[in-house]
Amino acid sequence: MSHGHILGDSEYKSQVSAVWKATLYMGIITIVEVVIALLWMNYLADSLPRLMLNVFFIVASALKAFFIIAEFMHLKYEKRALIISLAVPLVFLVWAIIAFSWEASAWFHMKGLVSP
C-alpha cells in the first residue's frame, strides 16, 4: 500500500481470514503428522514399509512450507518476476540432494568394505 493509503475494511477482513485459514491448515497438518507417527510406532511399523511414512512426512512438510511462504511471507501476492527469481536458484538444491544421496550410498558401501 502506498503512503497514506490505508487498507480498506473488506481487504483487511479477507487478509486476516486468509491468515487464520492457513494457520488452521498448518495446525491440522502438524496434528495429522504426529497422529500418524504414533500410529506407526504402535501398530503399523511391522506391516508397512518405512518409505511410505517418510514420503508422507516430506509431502506434509512441503505443504506447510508452501503455506508459510505463500501466505505468511505473502509471496503469493507478489509479482511473478520476484517469485521466479527466488524459485529458480532453488533448482541447485535438487541437484545437491541427488548428488549427496548418491555420495552417501557410496560411503555406506565403503564402510561395509572396511569393517564388515
Binding site: 500500500m1 502506498s2 503512503h3 497514506g4 493509503h5 490505508i6 487498507l7 481487504e11 483487511y12 487478509q15 486476516v16 491468515v19 487464520w20 494457520t23 498448518m26 495446525g27 502438524t30 496434528i31 503428522e33 504426529v34 507417527a37 504414533l38 510406532m41 517418510n54 512426512f57 516430506i58 512438510s61 506447510k64 512450507a65 508459510i68 511462504i69 501466505e71 505468511f72 511471507m73 505473502h74 501476492y77 507478489e78 509479482k79 518476476a81 520476484l82 527469481s85 527466488l86 536458484p89 532453488l90 541447485f92 538444491l93 545437491a96 540432494i97 549427496f100 544421496s101 555420495e103 552417501a104 550410498s105 560411503w107 555406506f108 564402510k111 561395509g112
Partner: protein, 248 residues
Amino acid sequence: MAEETVLHHPEIETGHEPFMPADEFASNSPMKVSYGKMMMWYFLLSDAFTFSAFLISYGAIRMSNAWWPDPNHVFNAMPFMGHRKIPLGFVSIMTFILILSSVAVVLAVIEGHRMNKKGVLKWMLGGIIGGAAFLGCQAWEWAHLIEEGLRPFYNPFGPDEKGLTHLVHETLTKSPGPVAFGALFFGITGFHGFHVFTGVCLNVWGFFATLSGKFEKVGHYEMIEKLGLYWHFVDLVWVFVFLAFYLL
C-alpha cells in the same frame, strides 16, 4: 516535490498490487517491491542455502550409517512429566508455539497496513512472547539431552546390546551410537536457535521503534514487513529441522 510525484503516480492511484510500497524505486522496479524488501528476500534465499547445506549433509551422514538413533526414543521427554515417555509431544508443542508466533507477526504486518499502531504493538508483543517461549523450550530440551549424556563429540543413544549381567537377569546395555548425531543435532538446532534469538532481538527493536512512533512518522510500517519476512523464514526452517530430526 518527490513526495508529490509519488502521490500522483498513476500506477499507485489505480494499483492493484496489495503490498506495493510507494517509493520511487518500487513503482519503477519490475518486481514492484521496495529495495529493502527485495534484499531481505535475497538474504533469506542465501540463508536457505546455508540451512539446506546443513540439512543435506545431515541426510548424507545419516544415510551412510548402517544404524541411526530412533528419534522416537531420543526425543520423548516432556517437562513436568517426570519419566513418562511422550514421543514427539514436546517438539509438537514447540512447533505450534513457533507457528502461532509467526501468525502474530503476520497480523502485526496487516495492522501496519492500516497504520494501526496499537494493533502492531499488540501482535508484535505476541510474536516476541512466542519466540521467547520457543527458545525456552529449546533450552529445556538441550539441557535434558545433555543430562542424558549427548555431546557434540559423544552420542549415548546406540543400538541395544545384550549386557554382561545376564547371570542375574538379562539386561540391555546401551552402546554408543554414531558420533555425528550429537554434533549435527547441536549444530543444526543451535544454528536455528541462534536465528530465532536474532529474530526475537530484532522484533523487540521493532516493538520499541513502533512504540516511539518512528514508523508512524515515516508514514508506513514496511520495517515490520521486513522483520516479519525474517521471522517467517525462521518458522520455515523449523519445519525442515522438525522433519529431518524428529519425523524421519
